[in-house]
């Protein structure tokens, strides 16, 4: 029953609207220069860089040890993943061994972080849809519990600096594992709660089904990764396709979009992914070995061998890559980030053209972009 808004023959002037950088729904400081014909978007130009902190420049001007503390800020919602990507690249260049307990701890905190990141996405996505004061706060309730758990092991709620080159920072107490178990035990019920209020909601269905269809070929051309491309039905998850860490030993599935890759599919993918992550946390807890937690001494003058390497991991937003060129000193010669948000955002204009203003937020929310991750 969708009305075709394009068939009117009325001649009207086009209006240029500057959406952002201060706008309630651009998730920070994205600026979209929209050319509107009535309510229909005719042209979009994303302007990014308002949050540019020169992370790559800082990477080559600070020692590796100092830089470790900074990289959580690359993507503030999934700090564990940015740390992991950097640590992974450095370890592969260095060739140092990571103890199995550290591996499991990494997978554990990463999956917890994936859940907390998706929860925040769920809340903001619903705000974008206009449920302004409603259920956004239910996801935040669970996220708060996760952040408390992170605070207990890393000392910080969001900027963890927990995963270090060679291992992890500290060994959690046994009571911490019990708390995680308690969380995972009740979390599936919580997801059921969100689904009950969102998945069945007729207005949500109307706003998301068939909106912002991301075609497979377009997505691949733009290098889209993460749940955004899995929503389009492409089974591409680094945890399965190029397994890293201990993921080969864990048992999980990759949820895929069932329709043609619209906003609804991307929503469903993330919801199902949270369930999978919850499952993974439980497996990590069950298999958690004893032993060392770091294979490299954590000192201020930390060095890695000379060489270069690219390493990528599956972050909540897609393939998060880190390209490190080391010359054997305590500073990297060049650090280059491949951020999933940056690459996913590039596809936004092709999704928006021809859609009404109201869809901008639904589509933009569904590809889950974090602006610090875009601008670095």
């Amino acid at each position: 029953m969708s009305t075709n808004l394009e068939t009117t023959n009325l001649k009207t002037d086009e209006m240029i609207i500057n959406m952002g950088p201060q706008h309630p729904a651009t998730h920070g400081v994205l600026r979209l220069i929209l050319k509107l014909d009535g309510e229909i978007v005719r042209h979009v130009e994303p302007v990014i860089g308002h949050l540019h902190r020169a992370q790559e420049w800082q990477g080559q001007n600070r020692t590796l040890f100092q830089y470790q503390a900074l990289i959580d800020r690359v993507d503030y919602l999934s700090g564990m993943f940015t740390s992991l990507a950097f640590a992974h690249a450095c370890e592969q260049i260095d060739g140092c061994q990571i103890p199995p307990r550290a591996q499991y701890l990494r997978a554990l905190v990463c999956e917890m972080n994936r859940i907390s990141s998706h929860l925040l996405w769920l809340g903001t996505f619903l705000i974008d849809l206009g449920a302004l004061f409603g259920f956004p706060f239910y996801p935040f309730r669970e996220r708060e519990k996760l952040l408390d758990l992170f605070e207990e092991i890393a000392g910080q709620r969001m900027m963890f600096n927990y995963i270090r080159i060679g291992g992890v920072q500290r060994d959690p107490k046994p009571s911490w594992f019990e708390k995680v178990r308690k969380f995972t035990a009740e979390f599936p019920d919580r997801i059921d709660e969100y689904e009950a209020i969102v998945t069945q909601n007729p207005i949500v269905l109307k706003r998301t089904k068939g909106v912002g269809i991301l075609d497979k070929s377009v997505a691949m051309d733009y290098g889209v990764t993460g749940p955004s491309i899995r929503g389009s039905g492409i089974n591409y998850d680094l945890r399965k396709t190029r397994p890293y860490g201990i993921y080969p030993e864990l048992n999980f599935e990759i949820p895929l979009g069932q329709n043609q890759g619209d906003t609804w599919d991307r929503y469903m993918c993330r919801i199902l992914e949270m369930r999978q992550s919850n499952n993974l946390i439980n497996q990590c807890l069950d298999k958690m070995p004893e032993g060392e937690i770091s294979g490299k001494k954590q000192i201020a003058g930390l060095r890695i061998k000379a060489g270069e390497g690219f390493s990528a991991i599956e972050s909540p937003r897609g393939v998060l890559g880190c390209y490190v060129i080391s010359n054997g000193s305590d500073k990297a010669y060049r650090i280059r980030w491949r951020n999933p948000s940056f690459c996913n955002l590039a596809v936004l204009p092709s999704l928006l053209i021809g859609r009404p203003i109201s869809d901008i937020m639904a589509i933009f929310g569904s590809i889950d972009v974090i602006l610090p991750d875009v601008d670095r």
């Binding site: 029953m1 706008h23 619903l126 849809l129 206009g130 449920a131 409603g134 909601n201 207005i203």
Partner: protein, 467 residues
């Protein structure tokens, strides 16, 4: 089960305190202007001028009541909305200003009054200033005819008893959209402009089902007078307009007769629902009841769209248009927009109460009351004792008029329940898209409201609702 029962208790307490505050002050103002001042004036000197002044005072009472009521009520409703939403979304809500956050919105109001009043560059200053006034004024003069119905046609408010009350209210309620478009256009802001235009489109399309559902009720009651419509719904919820607009009157009377043991119960039933064509009668009653219930929900839906509440808050869609037509407003002008928005919500809810939910009438059916009075003796005794104790207040100083008192109490309960329902809806639903909104309005609501109207016309011809 009720994890936040403490919050719930606080919320209830806060509501009761604020309601006492609102209606205490309104009652106080009315008493001073309508009873005390005229009495004093007449006692001071017995000449024509003073008598005229006393009469003017009495005529001014409704206006004073409204002017006192609107700002305090808006403050209360904002607080209810924020605390209520906090309840639904597992938060605390504002709880710092005053005891338990009681004075939060009062503080907000003071803050808004003292904020700088900015007129943006390039804005049309005249229209920019006029817009909030045009938006707010209808909510004052539109609510005046309601007063007579709310107060049970009290003498002081008899002046507001318009013969074409509902017509006047509908006319008034369609004015605010002019203010919104004006404000949106004058702000020199594209978001505001889009918001204003959306608002115009929305108001035009949703006014039709709104009016049609009210017309249905007016037709059933054969009156445009809100007081008369209210008085036709006396005697329990079976007589409310939402349940057939009098279609169940006979049932009510029949049950009444049965309880009281009167012998003509079957005669009453026969008079209302003639048995020679009982199939037709049953169909007609069912049709009436179903269509008035549909009309009620249609009214609620359209009213939500009229007052720009979620899920129809497209003119001020925050995630799309920043804040729509009031993006550029600040200080007192923004406060007026805010005030009018919540006053409109209250007015819309009280119209729903008067037209559908029995106005200030007791929801408990008369036969149930009779039954209770007969079998539980202490109830009538207690009531008699209280009445005796209060009689000096009622008869000599005219402090309380029992009819008005109970009417207002039931109005408060029903109206604020509807307001709370609107808050609940806001806590659960996301926003429509503009094309879906238009679709829903023109393709669903308007045909449905016409259908309901025709069903009511035919069904009313079959059964006799006015014996």
């Amino acid at each position: 089960m009720l994890a936040n029962s403490a919050e719930l208790f606080k919320f209830t307490r806060l509501t009761l305190i604020w309601l006492t505050l609102i209606f205490g002050s309104v009652w106080g103002a009315c008493f001073i202007v309508g009873v005390l001042l005229p009495t004093l004036l007449l006692r001071a000197c017995d000449n024509e001028i003073f008598a005229l002044l006393a009469q003017i005072c009495q005529y001014l009472t409704p206006l004073i009541a409204i002017l006192v009521f609107i700002p305090i009520n808006a403050m209360f409703m904002v607080l209810v909305e924020r605390r209520g939403l906090a309840l639904f979304t597992v938060r605390m809500g504002p709880n710092r200003v005053g005891p338990d956050g009681l004075l939060q919105t009062a503080a907000d109001a003071v803050k808004l009054l003292f904020k700088e009043d900015i007129i943006p560059t390039g804005a049309d200053a005249w229209l920019f200033t006029l817009a909030p006034i045009i938006f707010f004024a209808p909510s004052i003069f539109g609510s005046i005819p309601l007063l007579a119905a709310i107060t049970g046609n009290n003498d002081l408010f008899a002046i507001t008893n318009l013969p074409t009350g509902i017509f006047f209210i509908i006319a008034a309620s369609s004015v605010p959209v002019v203010g919104i478009v004006m404000g949106g256009w004058a702000s020199n802001n594209k978001y505001s402009l889009v918001g204003g235009l959306r608002s115009a489109a929305q108001a035009i399309s949703y006014e039709i089902p709104l009016v049609l559902s009210l017309v249905t009720i007016c037709y059933l009651n054969q009156s445009l007078n809100v007081v008369e419509i209210a008085s036709r719904q006396t005697g329990g919820f079976l007589n409310w307009n939402i349940f057939g607009g009098g279609a169940l009157n006979g049932l009510d009377k029949y049950l009444n007769a049965l309880i009281n043991g009167s012998s003509n119960a079957n005669d009453i039933l026969q008079a209302y629902y003639p048995s020679n064509q009982w199939i037709l009668t049953v169909i007609a009653i069912a049709g009436l009841v179903v269509s008035t219930i549909i009309a009620f929900f249609m009214y609620i839906t359209a009213a939500c769209a009229e007052v720009n509440r979620i899920p129809f808050d497209l003119p001020e869609a925050e995630s799309e248009l920043v804040s729509g037509y009031n993006t550029e407003y600040s200080g007192i002008k923004f406060a007026i927009f805010f005030l009018a928005e919540f006053t409109n919500l209250f007015i819309v809810s009280s119209i729903a109460t008067i037209m559908f939910l029995g106005a200030g009438n007791n929801p408990i059916p008369q036969f149930l009351i009779d039954y209770l009075f007969k079998n539980v003796t202490f109830i009538p005794q207690t009531i008699n004792a209280i009445t005796q104790a209060l009689s000096p207040l009622i008869n000599q100083i005219h402090l309380i008029n029992p009819i008005t008192f109970w009417s207002v109490v039931w109005m408060i309960v029903k109206t604020y329940s509807l307001v709370f329902f609107a808050v609940l809806v806001r806590g659960t639903l996301p926003r429509f898209k503009i094309d879906q909104l238009m679709d829903f309005g023109w393709k669903r609501l308007i045909p449905l409201s016409l259908l309901v109207f025709f069903i009511v016309i035919f069904a009313k011809g079959v059964i006799n609702t006015n014996v």
